[in-house]
């Protein structure tokens, strides 16, 4: 080493972009085109040391295909069974869709920020999810249900395109019994659908709560979150009390590929969960 610069020491994350082998323990079909994969590190020491917080994500690597960011959708209290609800869209996720229980892929994580459950204690929690956006909220919901009395009212507004697009429908009853006020709607219903029809922000008209005191956690397509925020602000929910989960292309998840930049933020570092007040100057700006 020559000229006087500070070269930081390497931490155990010596090779930050190196995946670790993980085994598929279970596959549960959730809805049309989405299944939940339960993964476990092959190395028992890694498996034992792994912890995550609600809202964080992993990078899943399918050799020769590529790597994708997928949120953890399972209970953080059971960090040995890592749930990932994956929508089969492009080449990597469709490739993962062809794997069977016992097959392997690469996993690294957890990455990113988390839902601010510490701030939610004593408050009403309003979760608003669209489609697969419920996946990163599920760990938060399960965590809240473990210590239900610490929180005020817990509401979940959930919407999908069609009834077939809804995730975790088999758990809805249990959630409601445990004290979740659930309101579901779909954009297009079939003859069997008994619930609400319409876009998610419409569900705001079905609820009433102490808006000044609640915390909003929302995840879904950006356009959906935009209307959710619109409804929330119209009810005088403080912008500081609204948290969104942003999606951007990701290659490294550790802050040096540049892909996930969103104004001053790297979504893989400051996000994916961001406080609305901090991103308001950029949020909704065309193609930003």
């Amino acid at each position: 080493m020559s000229q006087a610069i500070h070269i930081p020491a390497m931490t155990p994350a010596v090779l930050p972009m190196l995946p670790q082998p993980a085994v598929i323990r279970a596959i549960k079909p959730e809805s049309y085109g989405v299944a939940t994969y339960t993964l476990a590190f092959q190395d028992p020491a890694l498996a034992a040391a792994y912890r995550f917080l609600p809202g964080q994500f992993n990078m899943l690597y399918l050799p020769a295909f590529g790597e994708v960011a997928i949120s953890l959708s399972s209970d953080p209290a059971q960090p040995q069974a890592l749930g990932h609800s994956i929508r089969f869209g492009g080449s990597v996720t469709q490739g993962i869709g062809r794997l069977k229980v016992g097959d392997m892929l690469g996993l690294r994580g957890p990455y990113g920020s988390h839902w601010p459950l510490d701030l939610a204690a004593g408050k009403d929690v309003l979760m608003v999810a669209g489609g697969i956006g419920l996946a990163p909220l599920r760990p938060a919901l399960l965590t809240i249900l473990k210590e239900r009395s610490k929180y005020g009212r817990v509401l979940l507004l959930y919407g999908g395109r069609t009834p077939q697009d809804l995730l975790y429908t088999d758990e809805f009853e249990a959630w409601q019994k445990a004290g979740v006020e659930l309101h579901v709607s779909v954009d297009w219903a079939d003859e069997n659908w008994k619930g609400q029809v319409g876009v998610i922000p419409m569900l705001f008209y079905r609820i009433r709560l102490e808006y000044k005191k609640c915390l909003v956690l929302t995840c879904g397509p950006e356009i959906m979150m935009r209307f959710v925020i619109y409804e929330a602000l119209a009810r005088n929910i403080p912008r500081e009390s609204i948290y969104i989960s942003m999606e951007r292309n990701m290659k490294c998840a550790v802050g040096f590929c540049g892909h996930c930049q969103y104004g001053p933020n790297f979504i893989c570092q400051q996000g994916p969960i961001l406080n609305f007040a901090t991103v308001e100057p950029f949020f909704g700006k065309e193609s930003f």
């Binding site: 931490t11 082998p21 590929c257």
Partner: protein, 376 residues
């Protein structure tokens, strides 16, 4: 003559021009591979060099937005040019680096990390702006949440011999960016070319050792004065970019019609990002054997101007040239400050020189000052 001893760190000394050859030899003896400017394909590029004669002595560059020509310079100087299309990032953060190999054995995947390569380079003639560009890449790749092991392995080996600028090009604006024309820190040795020799500032122990067996003399007030004069001339030759309040200026103009005007000229070719010494964005490429038993993941340079840079499922968050140029400019001059505490541009002028249509960021930024968007 103080030939046997070596000067102390932070001393300024004067040597004859031929002494640089001795410094090169000392570097080689210490195990360094020399990389420096040389003439190739009608441009000054960075490549391995062996001797003083390899330097582009007597050449300079005629640079304008969208224009680059090599022309004979004044007085046969060794460092009478500024910067060519290359920057040092190609050696510290190479265009392509293998990350790992995945091998299937007995049905299980094994991921073998690639060992970071660490050639021991001595960079010869690093311009002050480029020195600062290396410091900026350090911020992004070494001092972020996790250091990049590949960059780190290369970076810690490098010897930096800086060359202060006595001559600026018409595309330079280091004075505005406060990065030049004189290097203040971060070098092992920094030279200023005088008519009859080099003034050398010693920046490190290793730098001082490389002056072993040269006929150095402590610099006199006269030498220091002559050097300062040369650097002041370079300072006056430049274009300008007002840097106060840049983030506010750009963030408050995200929907200014001027972006459409730039977009009409910009080809989204990405030349500016490849030539820029501070751009660090990369993507990954996956390859495999035909039997699906071995796969490789390689990291390669990327550009925010490419079509799939911001692709997400079913769409692209920056589908227009307007949105991509806006990302480039606001990143360099605004969000870089939020992310790394300093502007992301060092004023080297490469982006405008190598832009096929001559887009000049100093002019684009100015457009927002001249007619700020009316508040909606």
């Amino acid at each position: 003559m103080a030939t046997a001893s070596i000067p102390r760190v932070s001393a300024s000394v004067v040597v004859l021009k031929a002494a640089l050859q001795k410094i090169f030899e000392n570097l080689r003896a210490a195990g360094f591979t020399l990389v420096g400017p040389r003439v190739r394909d009608g441009a000054i590029v960075l490549d391995e060099i062996a001797a003083l004669d390899d330097l582009p002595r007597g050449w300079t560059e005629d640079k304008q937005p969208g224009r680059y020509r090599l022309v004979p310079g004044r007085n046969g100087q060794y460092f009478g040019f500024t910067v060519g299309p290359h920057s040092w990032k190609q050696f510290l953060h190479p265009p392509s680096a293998l990350l790992f190999t995945a091998r299937k054995s007995n049905g299980a995947w094994v991921f073998e990390p690639a060992k970071p390569q660490a050639p021991q380079y001595a960079f010869i003639g690093v311009r002050p702006c480029d020195l600062k560009a290396i410091a900026l890449q350090d911020r992004a790749l070494l001092e972020g949440p996790v250091p990049d092991p590949h960059y780190r392995a290369r970076r810690r080996q490098v010897f930096l011999l800086a060359a202060n600028c006595g001559e600026a090009a018409a595309t330079c604006f280091c004075t505005s960016m406060k990065t030049g024309p004189r290097a203040s820190t971060g070098f092992d040795l920094a030279l200023t070319e005088l008519p009859d020799g080099f003034l050398i500032d010693v920046g490190s122990e290793t730098g001082s050792e490389m002056l072993q067996d040269t006929e150095w003399e402590p610099a006199t007030a006269f030498d220091l004065g002559r050097a300062t004069q040369a650097l002041q001339r370079a300072e006056r030759q430049q274009r300008e970019l007002r840097t106060d309040d840049l983030p506010r200026l750009l963030y408050s103009n995200l929907e200014h019609p001027h972006w459409d005007e730039v977009a009409a000229r910009c080809l989204s070719c990405g030349n500016c990002t490849l030539a820029c010494p501070t751009c660090f964005c990369t993507t990954v490429e996956d390859s495999s054997d035909l039997r699906g038993q071995v796969a490789r993941r390689t990291r390669v340079w990327d550009s925010c101007f490419t079509g799939d840079f911001s692709q997400v499922h079913g769409g692209n968050t920056r589908p227009t040239i307007r949105s991509r140029y806006r990302q480039f400019l606001t990143h360099k001059y605004a969000s870089w400050i939020d992310q790394f505490g300093t502007v992301g541009c060092v004023g080297c002028g490469r982006c405008m020189t190598w832009c096929p249509v001559g887009i000049d960021p100093t002019q684009e930024v100015k457009a927002f000052r001249v007619s700020p968007a009316r508040p909606k």
